[in-house]
Symmetry: C2
Subunit: 513 residues, 2 copies
């Protein structure tokens, strides 16, 4: 779906199209509140072993804070044993520091109805983050542009089950690398009214993110509230670089939320076992979160875990594997024992196409993330090819499956209406339930229904062209982008944001690396 | 994959092909023993409500045993209130009768290494059952033939993660309906050495199944052991017809296992709610299992639950939905409280093609089945289009995913090797784990790896033709069928089976309805 393609799609039209647009549903489901239990794969003994080992890692091996003397000083003052850039954290100190982080975070959206709660029994769904390429059925695989980025933000706005607009939904590679964040933030602030993420690729870009939020939300509001959740990856194993920590410092000081996320291809960047990888994840997450608390006690943080497996035949990262699920379940338990919000999961896959491989792998991860107690799910939709590609078709296919997570999370209704004894009495052996009073009263809300899949009988489906999921999804992408209408924004705010972006761009020479 | 296609595929060949065949791996994983907990979606209060309501259904509404005076007499003698064909089962009676059923069943295969255990912490995987159509990439969708059936049995034999050869993997529609069971049994007995299911479409066909097993295993062995697990569907709601019950009676008397399985499209054949449907499932399964115990106390039985949702827009059954998962989780809990083996799940989907829809839906069900504590998973691979179609490509895609279930079920190793503290110490911050001693010692068994998916980098994958999952799976089907070699069978046994089939066919005129 190129921008040109979208324009062509909108060129025709007239009354029918306008009528269709008027009927557009741009509702957005509220944050999922999980009324079902989590799936706990580790028993108490395993949890204690991993927690003890993580403390050993922090104390005996330590972590590196690279090119960051201020961080080393904070650690030393807190009681750590600092040797060069290596910080040895005494047993128990990191966990103690983590205790000042809030258990739940409210991230505000400019539309208050779309603010989200992260932590406890909540689950917030955000789209894919980071791909340099995009793919769609029409245009194939290509470098992502700002037009693609904007279309993904529009698609996210139109996706009922997606709570969050995300961050770098794809890399706008046609914009200089030192200016992209400005255009991306502007899109998140103007093309949608859902919450979003800030830039982390340089401390100055984090400052820009905070400054633009002050224009959007007002300075006083930003000083008192969390309006961004940003992704701070750890350089696994056990390394915290100055760029990411610089961004974290900006956000922590501004009271904005950071996801401290070990980013691990298991077997290469961590031990080749689940328990060993979980030990490293826990050590890294605790060290980063503790550091955020040193910067500003009470700074909102999220315990992140992004772990892929490695294919030992080819060295390729693999997704939706059983080992990845085990790590997700275990990391969720470890995060909950720290009383911290937990980030993991998503529609992760290694496939090059939005085909069966992509869907098996993604569904494996989506299911594990729901049951594993994830509170913030990045990459919930649109992820393809190990995160190298943002796929338009996969975005709408995944986003549709997110509806199933909402429904599953509601659990089982055992009210009188849920028990349905009147229906069983009315119908009896050999009867049909379709016409009974209970069914008539409840069928509209009874079953989740996909809006992306085909439920037609074979003959009708054949007559309609016998399209596969990818082709149906391409049609849905066109429909959603065609129906898109920009949410209203105060013109003064819009102008000040545009001015800020123009001014900052003018201040900097273009940089492409 | 037509039989002709397969022959053509094998026509070329020579030394290379023979060498390849010699290297064929026809290993079969043993029954999964789950070392992870089950996912329990219902709390004690919900379970007690549903159990109480199911007893109310059995007592106040009752169940119909149709055209089966002998069954009505057994129920009356057991203390039920029989009114015409309606059996009102006093509160507690069905549960009490179920208590004589064994908690686990060993189903023997003719190759003792491939015998399976059904119940407790076990999970046995069996292929799709029942489709009148088949589909493959080459030949499209068509009526199934005996040649298709035989190829599916061969594929099942070649599938490492599939424990069981199943039953009616597809309907051989080119064989008269009253003779099909003989050819199907012969295929399961001669083309594979995995365990299989018996015929249930008429009591006489169940008798044939037992008679052929006596030829295969020996009469004394069959009298003392379970060698078949057969599928007895309930005519939901609350109806037990004479054909299915007749087959159940044959098997129960012969000490052979039956799956008593409500087959429900929720909202049409049961109430439109999860709790209401679970109530009906429990009532139906208990009534059928209790009846098997009346026929022969101690008869091996499995608590079955096959539940689809209904799309209230079109009336189509839908699969892999959140409601179906909830029912699966809940039914597993109810079965475990009866201390009975549990059957549910599989790679269920509604899609017409082995595409993303098929895979999302199937993965949703496969994951729920593993965590829901299923002991016998029918339809684990090959199911397409709501069960109307057995797909060759989907068979190998699903069968590959079953490997992930094996791995997930093993849980997390927290032995010293699993903890990997030596690796963490050796590598330290910023290092790589690929070369460390711990990785070298453990990498071969560390990560599950798909044999059906593509893990190549984009460029290599593109140069190889840029194939999607379906095309890769078609290639895998050809490879597996090309590599297939029939397992050895005592020639005298093979002859007696062939003679039995020939004699029985000669005794009956062809029937096609």
């Amino acid at each position: 779906m190129s921008e040109g393609g979208r324009r062509r799609g909108r060129g025709g039209g007239g009354a029918a199209r306008r009528a269709e647009r008027t009927a557009v549903n741009v509702s957005c489901a509220p944050t999922i509140r999980r009324r079902i239990g989590t799936y706990d794969i580790l028993d108490d003994e395993a949890l204690q072993i991993i927690e003890r080992n993580a403390e050993t890692v922090l104390e005996e091996i330590g972590v590196n804070f690279v090119e960051n003397p201020a961080a080393l000083k904070l650690w030393k003052d807190a009681g750590a044993d600092v040797q060069g850039e290596r910080v040895h954290i005494p047993r128990g100190l990191a966990r103690k520091l983590c205790a000042s982080a809030p258990a739940t975070i409210t991230q505000h959206a400019r539309n208050p109805e779309r603010s989200v709660v992260i932590g406890g029994d909540s689950l917030v769904l955000a789209p894919v983050y980071g791909p340099p390429f995009v793919r769609d059925a029409e245009g194939g695989r290509r470098y992502a542009t700002l037009a693609d980025f904007q279309n993904f933000v529009r698609l996210g706005y139109m996706s009922e089950w997606l709570h969050h607009s995300g961050g770098t939904v794809c890399e706008p590679t046609d914009i200089p690398v030192n200016k992209r964040h400005l255009d991306m933030l502007l899109a998140h602030m103007t093309l949608t009214d859902k919450p979003f993420m800030g830039s982390v690729t340089e401390p100055g870009r984090a400052e820009d993110s905070v400054a633009m939020c002050r224009l959007l939300f007002g300075e006083a509001f930003v000083n008192e509230n969390t309006v961004m959740t940003s992704l701070i990856n750890v350089n696994s194993p056990l390394t915290f670089d100055a760029t990411m920590m610089g961004a974290l410092e900006v956000y922590a000081r501004a009271g904005q939320a950071c996801i401290v996320s070990p980013f691990i291809v298991g077997g290469a960047m961590s031990p080749v076992t689940v328990a060993g990888t979980l030990t490293q994840v826990l050590a890294e997450a605790m060290a980063g979160i503790a550091y955020a608390q040193l910067v500003r006690p009470g700074a909102p943080v999220i315990f992140g875990a992004f772990v892929a497996s490695i294919d030992m035949n080819s060295g390729a990262p693999t997704f939706g594997t059983p080992e990845a699920s085990k790590i997700l379940y275990g990391a969720g338990q470890l995060a909950r024992r720290l009383n911290l919000p937990f980030r993991s999961g998503g529609g992760l896959c290694g496939s090059k196409l939005p085909d069966a491989q992509a869907a098996y792998e993604s569904a494996n991860t989506l299911n594990a993330a729901l049951l594993g107690g994830v509170n913030f799910m990045l990459h919930a939709c649109g992820w393809l090819e190990g995160g190298l590609v943002a796929s338009f078709e996969k975005f709408v296919l995944d986003a549709d499956q997110l509806g199933a997570l909402h429904s599953l999370a509601r659990g089982v209704d055992v009210s009188e209406a849920g028990q349905a004894m009147d229906a069983l009495h009315e119908v009896g052996p050999g009867g049909h339930f379709l016409g009974c009073a209970h069914t008539q009263a409840h069928f509209k809300q009874a079953f989740w229904r996909s809006h992306a899949f085909d439920y037609k009988p074979f003959e009708t489906w054949s007559e309609d062209g016998g399209l596969d999921s990818q082709a149906l999804a391409a049609r849905r992408v066109r429909k959603l982008l065609g129906d898109y209408q920009q949410p209203a924004l105060d013109p003064g705010v819009a102008e000040s944001l545009a001015d800020y972006v123009a001014r900052r761009k003018a201040e900097m020479p273009d940089a492409f690396v």
